[in-house]
């Protein structure tokens, strides 16, 4: 889609709603205006979603109609619609090249529609950026959102926000797709029939007086974790007005144990903030702090900054990870030990004991070697005040308490550990809270249940029986506010469509308490409401806009005088100044005894199971997000499904192969689920991720995967012991994007230890004489038919810019943020499970995962792989039409509109980073039938049609934008002025892009690093994207790193490898 289309289209949008965009300060520019009268009229007439798709269409604004037309690129449209196809068939039948060349040249007339009144800030063709924040599990990550004439198209991190520092995670990157999700609920529903907001108000009005008179007895509010100061304020107000009302919280992937741990240790709730930027030794007790924890994006950055050696100073922190199922932390760890969850407690006690925590007692974990334990202890002792012991969110309170005790003992507190006021509005045990609610529901105590977001009917443990009691007659009136008409909405009397955070005002706190104002970039596409609005209604302030509620609250905090300035600044910066949570001085009051509640968790013997939030759909809320569903899980590369992960040994014992269906029994509850064998999975424990098996997610997510909540225990949300695993004999197709996990002894990921590096920075040259480190994308001279410059392009002149990239494999944590960022930036389609199984996924950037060494506990290596922009590109040489050629600045240009689709370039690409549109993939996400999805597209990137090749372009649209701006005033492009999407999203700054001709640029500097090498450079492809070898910092007393390929699970491959080994052996 060309920018012209973009402008045209967006202009019409704006034109359609000018008056409102001007007058109404509430909505960021580009908001749309609907004829509500018409909508309501039609609504009451229409029934069932099939009659209409969106309010625009409903209101029949001419703007939107053309908008749809224009938003479709003709190129794609041509063979998307049947007529066009038949036209081509005729041509083929005639098979006249001439006819072909002329058949479809003439363009149809197109309309161009200006504003009626042009807003000042809008320059057609230039995007605007707005600061806002996205929350996950209640905790905010600051973002800057790109708006193309009123359409939010891309989310970036907010550099000023403590939880982001400019980076994001995969969820945040994908959130913009959820905004346009055509399956989002688009109207108020009453008992499965379409209804209106007004009739909902009257229905509620009928209830409220009675409730008031009863002091609110019978009124229950159920929320997820609340950090929003304003919402908290509203709730407080409500509870004051109606003291008998109750507010419950439930977060399926919540932090009950963390809270309880703090309480156990200090007798009160405090939040722990880790300062990885000050820690030299980190010990993780089953904690994956690089992902999924509040603030983990920030933590990842702080942690990695401490182990970057490419930059010269050769210092690294050291990470010990004890984990039950492979996670990101385990992959980057210097020493990793897979242990059962039940062993973490003894381990923690042992550590604490050895470090002098009296209360610890002297427990000894079974599978942990003395040697390792001693190493850990010695390291911790050696780095008092500069170390962190962190317990996993899932681990029971005792482990957290022990961790606190250890950190205290090592006087890390105040240095690497900070205890602060909880960011939550009301810290409490969610499990207990929801339990209480369900009991009252059963007891008929609940008259009016208002569920603000969340999906308890699905994501509470089935054994809790929330759904059962929700539908029983005793709950008189249940109201559910949610973005989808989901499992819970279906069971409630009323469903209110919720606004996406890009559509609504609001506020939220980050992991460190810092508050952010959430501002909308577009008026609600589907008339979504916010929790604030619903609360206002309950508070009897019906039709008070969220904006007012919000301002009212903050006005209270700031005071009248210069509130205006404060507000503008807060909204603009995306952070509210001086809101960081105040530090707390806490006293360790912990006797080391295991609380009663915990005893039963690991009681008894047998197989253990771990429930984890899913790395792609979290607790299930992202189930209908195609980008995330198709995103390969970091370690297993599994897409479109979840599976129960088992260790190779268990597979051997139970005779299980990948994809075998097994029947799991956890406390009498059964679930059939396929197995996936995961090297490095701890023995005696299996793990299953939450968030799948949705029954009402939408067209993308419904029926995908297996519902772990069905067997999730209520008493301990994360672990269970005594699991039975029975082979059913049935099979199930699991699809991964990487079939082969070993490097086959090939020089793909180069690695070593800090020690090697310090002894000889060029140590890698020893193993790889073929490559010169200095300029590794020019490996060596080869004989050539072209005497000049050994086959390089002699006519090339030196240009100002020579684009290049360096990827630091020591810094990459494999979090996938870059993959989604690339997809969002470049209009990359998704293709669905069946196509992925054929090997046709379309992501331009993939993260390869290799194992080295012992299959039971291998070393894991991540390698982001994208088009490396070879200077001697094999793909270019073989393209018969010159659709992929080299630019003067060293870019390997892929020209979609010239491509005829021979796929020869892909065959000849040694990195296999080219992606082909085998079918019209635009149709997969219903782009063809769901116009609003077209608004998501980046107008600066062509939408590819069926039958053309595509690949990473180094985000050339960003390069061009920067070049044009620079050339207008004839200045060079500054280093860092062009950021590729992947680079911008990367939490650990593992990706560096820039101009190689500028010796001072970051990328040029890194290219000089002795760790720099080009993957497969021995093929003389001269990659412009090179990688930095992965360094480890092992404890001197422990084994450095493993060598030797991890054997394949496929007997055939094992035979091949054996033959090869014999061959090599025969020679030496």
């Amino acid at each position: 889609m060309s920018q012209h289309d973009g402008e045209r289209a967006s202009k019409e949008l704006l034109a359609g709603c000018m008056d409102d965009a001007q007058a109404d300060g509430q909505t960021a520019c580009g908001a749309r205006h609907y004829d509500w009268q018409a909508i309501r009229a039609r609504l009451s007439a229409a029934s069932g979603r099939e009659y209409w798709r969106s309010f625009e269409q409903l209101a029949d604004t001419a703007a939107f109609q053309d908008y749809l037309r224009h938003e479709f690129p003709r190129q794609a449209g041509e063979w998307m619609d049947a007529v066009g196809r038949r036209h081509f068939l005729k041509l083929m039948a005639a098979s006249l090249g001439l006819a072909g060349s002329m058949g479809c040249l003439r363009q149809p007339d197109e309309k161009i529609v200006p504003y009626v009144r042009q807003p000042e800030e809008v320059v057609p063709g230039k995007p605007l950026y707005f600061a806002t924040a996205m929350t996950l599990g209640g905790y905010a990550t600051g973002t800057l959102v790109e708006s193309q004439l009123g359409r939010p198209t891309k989310i970036e991190g907010n550099p000023d926000h403590p939880a982001s520092l400019g980076a994001t995670d995969a969820f945040t990157q994908a959130a913009v797709l959820s905004l346009y999700d055509p399956d989002r609920s688009q109207t108020v529903m009453h008992r499965e029939r379409i209804d209106t907001w007004s009739s909902f108000l009257s229905a509620l009005a009928a209830e409220l007086p009675a409730l008031k008179s009863r002091q609110g007895r019978g009124l229950r509010i159920l929320t997820e974790t609340v950090t929003s100061p304003t919402l908290a304020d509203q709730l407080r107000a409500l509870l004051e007005a109606m003291p008998e009302a109750r507010w419950h919280q439930y977060e399926p992937c919540g932090r009950d144990n963390v809270r309880a741990g703090a309480k156990l240790a200090f007798g009160e709730y405090v939040d722990t903030i880790y300062r990885f930027d000050r820690a030299d030794v980190v010990v993780s007790l089953d904690a994956d702090f690089l992902w999924g924890m509040p603030g983990s994006v920030r933590y990842a950055r702080d942690f990695v900054d401490r182990r970057r050696v490419a930059g010269g100073d050769a210092r690294m922190n050291r990470l010990f990870v004890f984990e039950s199922t492979p996670g990101l932390a385990g992959a980057i760890a210097d020493h990793r030990l897979p242990i059962q969850p039940s062993e973490v407690k003894p381990l923690a006690r042992a550590l604490a004991g050895r470090l002098g925590v009296e209360a610890a007692g002297s427990d000894m974990p079974a599978n942990v070697s003395q040697k390792l334990l001693e190493a850990v202890v010695s390291d911790l002792k050696a780095h008092r005040g500069a170390s962190i012991v962190i317990a996993g969110d899932g681990q029971p309170p005792l482990v957290h308490a022990l961790a606190h005790a250890i950190n205290g003992q090592l006087d890390n507190v105040g240095k690497t550990i900070e205890y602060v006021e909880p960011a939550e509005a009301r810290p409490e045990d969610h499990a207990a809270s929801i339990k209480a609610l369900v009991d009252d529901m059963a007891a008929g105590e609940v008259d009016l249940l208002v569920i603000l977001e969340g999906n308890p009917a699905y994501n509470t443990p089935a054994s809790l029986g929330f759904a059962k009691h929700l539908v029983n007659k005793r709950v008189k009136l249940a109201v559910h506010l949610s973005q989808h008409y989901d499992e819970t909405s279906f069971l409630c009397h009323w469903h209110i469509p919720a606004a996406h955070f890009l559509e609504s005002w609001g506020d939220a706190r980050a992991f460190d308490g810092t508050a952010s104002i959430v501002q909308p970039l577009i008026a609600p596409l589907y008339g979504g409401r916010t929790a604030h609005e619903l609360m206002s209604v309950l508070l009897g302030e019906a039709d008070q806009a969220t904006f007012e509620t919000l301002q009212k609250y903050w006005r209270k905090q700031i005071g009248e005088d210069d509130f205006g300035r404060f507000w503008r600044k807060a909204v603009h910066d995306g952070v509210v100044p001086e809101t960081k949570a105040p530090a707390r001085n806490v006293e360790l009051s912990f006797d080391g005894r295991t609380p009663q509640a915990e005893e039963q968790i690991f009681a008894g013997g047998g197989l253990e199971i771990v429930f984890t939030p899913d790395p792609t759909v979290w607790d299930g809320r992202f189930a209908n997000n195609g980008w995330l569903q198709e995103l390969a899980k970091p370690l297993t590369k599994l897409t479109w499904d979840n599976a129960v992960y088992i260790s190779p040994r268990l597979a051997e014992d139970e005779q299980l192969a990948n994809g075998d269906m097994v029947e799991l029994t956890v406390a009498e509850r059964k679930l059939d689920v396929p197995v996936w064998i995961v090297p490095g999975q701890a023995d005696g424990v299996i793990s299953l991720s939450l968030g799948y098996g949705r029954s009402r997610a939408g067209r993308v997510g419904t029926g995908v995967g297996f519902d772990a909540y069905a067997i999730r225990p209520t008493h301990a949300a994360w672990f269970a012991k005594g699991v039975e695993l029975k082979k059913t004999g049935r099979r199930y197709q699991l699809v991964v994007t990487q079939d082969h996990h070993s490097m086959q002894g090939r020089d793909v990921v180069q690695f070593g230890t800090l020690d090697d590096f310090q002894r000889d920075p060029n140590f890698l040259l020893a193993d790889h004489p073929s490559k010169s480190r200095e300029d590794s994308h020019r490996p060596f001279d080869l004989p050539s038919l072209y005497p000049d410059e050994k086959g390089s392009f002699p006519e090339r002149k030196e240009t100002d810019n020579a684009w290049g990239m360096v990827i630091d494999q020591t810094a990459c944590i494999g979090c996938n943020a870059c993959v989604i960022a690339c997809q969002a930036e470049n209009n990359t389609p998704i293709v669905g499970k069946e196509q992925v199984s054929r090997g046709r996924e379309m992501q331009w950037l993939r993260i390869d995962r290799y194992y080295v060494g012992d299959i039971d506990n291998p070393d894991t290596y991540f390698q982001p792989m994208l088009c490396v922009q070879c200077e001697n590109a094999p793909c270019e040489l073989v393209c018969p039409v010159g659709a992929t050629v080299h630019s003067s600045e060293g870019l390997n240009q892929m020209v979609y509109n010239r491509c005829v689709g021979t796929r020869y370039c892909s065959n000849n690409c040694p990195y296999k980073v080219r992606r082909f549109n085998f079918l019209n993939y635009e149709a997969f996400l219903h782009y063809d039938t769901e116009p609003q999805l077209a608004m998501l597209r980046n107008p600066d990137v062509t939408v590819r049609s069926r039958g053309v090749m595509e690949k990473c372009s180094f985000c050339v649209q960003r390069i061009q934008e920067a070049k044009i701006e620079a050339h207008k005033v004839n200045r060079p492009i500054a280093d860092g002025e062009v950021l590729t999407a992947c680079q911008q999203a990367c939490p650990t700054r593992a990706i560096v892009f820039g101009n190689l001709n500028d010796p001072d640029s970051e990328v040029a500097r890194l290219k000089k690093s002795p760790l720099n090498y080009g993957v497969l450079a021995e093929l003389n492809t001269r990659p412009r994207t090179t990688h930095l070898a992965r360094l480890r910092n092992p404890h001197p007393d422990l084994a450095a790193h493993q060598t030797g390929d991890t054997p394949s699970l496929d007997p055939r491959d094992q035979k091949i490898d054996k033959w090869l080994k014999d061959l090599e052996g025969g020679e030496t």
Partner: protein
């Protein structure tokens, strides 16, 4: 009787051989011509517009600068089309009752935008940026022709790739002093080839990147 054909067939059959050859060549030639003809390129084709706006009148007649209406031409990829209020800023005083301008007034009243028909319409996979061309001293005239002499707007150039490349290969053919970018006619062009080359240097035009595919296609 082995004699199957009439004597005339001798000439005829020879003729057909050359005839066939000729027809093929002719076909190819015609096809090429059609591809470059106004039928395909839509050069000099007038389009139905809501208001018969005359650039000639407003530019040469009233001497209004291009940027008065096309406000973003120097800053953005998109030149910008005047909002209705821009038209009304004058036409609420002059010609305020002319029936010809009723659509404009209506748009202003109802807030429904005017719907013009695109005259210069590039394929969707082509990314043209007005601002950089202006900044490098390529005049409006170079692509849009003598707009100051067009009572009704029409396409002056084919906008085909070959046409773009001609100039991207030899910008000196179109470059002009920056002050003359928005002027029309021969006096607005630098006098000599040398001047053109000098301007190229002054404006910092680097030709070899102009021929990179990704300069226009992404």
């Amino acid at each position: 009787m082995p004699q199957v054909f009439h004597p005339s067939m001798n000439t005829f059959s020879k003729a057909t051989i050359f005839g066939a050859l000729f027809v093929l060549i002719a076909l190819a030639f015609v096809a090429d011509r059609v591809e470059r003809s106004p039928y395909v390129t839509e050069v000099d084709v007038f389009r139905e517009q809501p208001v018969p706006f005359s650039h000639e009148h407003h530019v040469s007649g009233l001497g209004i600068d291009c940027r008065y209406c096309h406000t973003t031409v120097e800053t953005s990829a998109f030149a910008g089309l005047p909002a209705t209020e821009v038209c009304m800023s004058c036409h609420s005083q002059i010609w305020k009752d002319s029936p010809m301008l009723e659509p404009v007034r209506e748009s202003f009243r109802t807030g429904k935008p005017l719907r013009w028909t695109r005259v210069h319409d590039l394929p969707d996979f082509v990314y043209f940026n007005h601002s950089i061309h202006i900044a490098k001293g390529i005049g409006c005239e170079s692509c849009h022709g003598r707009v100051d002499q067009m009572p009704l707007m029409r396409r002056a150039a084919s906008l085909q790739m070959a046409w773009c490349l001609d100039c991207h290969e030899k910008p000196e053919g179109a470059i002009r002093p920056k002050r003359d970018v928005f002027r029309f006619g021969p006096e607005a062009r630098p006098v000599s080839h040398e001047d053109a080359l000098r301007l190229m240097k002054d404006h910092g035009v680097e030709t070899e990147q102009l021929l990179d595919c990704w300069t226009c296609h992404r």
